[in-house]
């Protein structure tokens, strides 16, 4: 049984018509699959099926430790969203509910490489003196 309803799938496919470039989604899962790891894998596979510009790689947090470290991923399930480059977008946990919209939005912005921000904001971010690690805590509802 699929996670996305037909209605969801059609809405996502429509949003993805605007995708500019390829996007790769890397899922870090754990072998002794927790339910949320398995659900995340299934969800991301279904999302990737919505556009031929998307690809997915499923990795194991323990077995693929080097890649996990390179991505800065230390827990599962985790999703790395990469466009032309790794912009530093990560989801930890199953992106359900409202976060599903953010996942779709992150794919679209990673695809274009064009953030929907004001010129002032973009200039200020370009001139940051040190890295900014933003953690946004949410709940799945």
């Amino acid at each position: 049984m699929s996670i996305l309803s037909d209605q969801d799938r059609q809405a996502v496919q429509k949003e993805f018509e605007a995708l500019a470039g390829p996007v790769k989604l890397t899922v870090f899962s754990q072998s002794l699959g927790s339910e949320s790891c398995l659900e995340t894998e299934r969800l991301i596979k279904e999302v990737v099926e919505c556009s031929d510009k998307l690809s997915v790689e499923i990795l194991n947090l323990v077995l693929d430790r080097e890649k996990a470290e390179a991505y800065g991923v230390d827990r599962a399930p985790a999703i790395v969203v990469e466009g032309a480059e790794d912009y530093g977008i990560r989801f930890f946990g199953l992106p359900g509910g409202y976060e599903f919209s953010n996942l779709i939005d992150s794919i679209i912005v990673a695809s274009s490489g064009q953030p929907g921000l004001s010129l002032e904001t973009r200039e200020a971010l370009t001139n940051l003196k040190e890295p900014a690690h933003i953690r946004v805590f949410t709940t799945p509802t």
């Binding site: 800065g72 949410t138 709940t139």
Partner: protein, 67 residues
């Protein structure tokens, strides 16, 4: 999360993590998440609730020594 992920695309200095506070209750406890969304930047600046873009940017600048 939307602003954070757009900021990540805008600057190689920015990383945006969206964390499910229910799944990762250890992190939620560590960062004293009482309500969502809660945003923590560089373990230095934190706020609860969604902020408009200029205010969100101000918090990022505050967390990075004024940009």
């Amino acid at each position: 999360m939307r602003l954070a992920q757009h900021m990540a695309v805008a600057s190689p200095q920015v990383r945006a993590d969206c964390i499910d506070a229910t799944e990762f209750s250890d992190l939620a406890q560590k960062y004293r998440v009482m309500a969502v969304p809660k945003v923590v930047i560089n373990d230095r600046v934190e706020f609860a609730g969604a902020l408009p873009e200029p205010e969100f940017l101000a918090q990022v600048l505050k967390a990075t020594n004024g940009g």
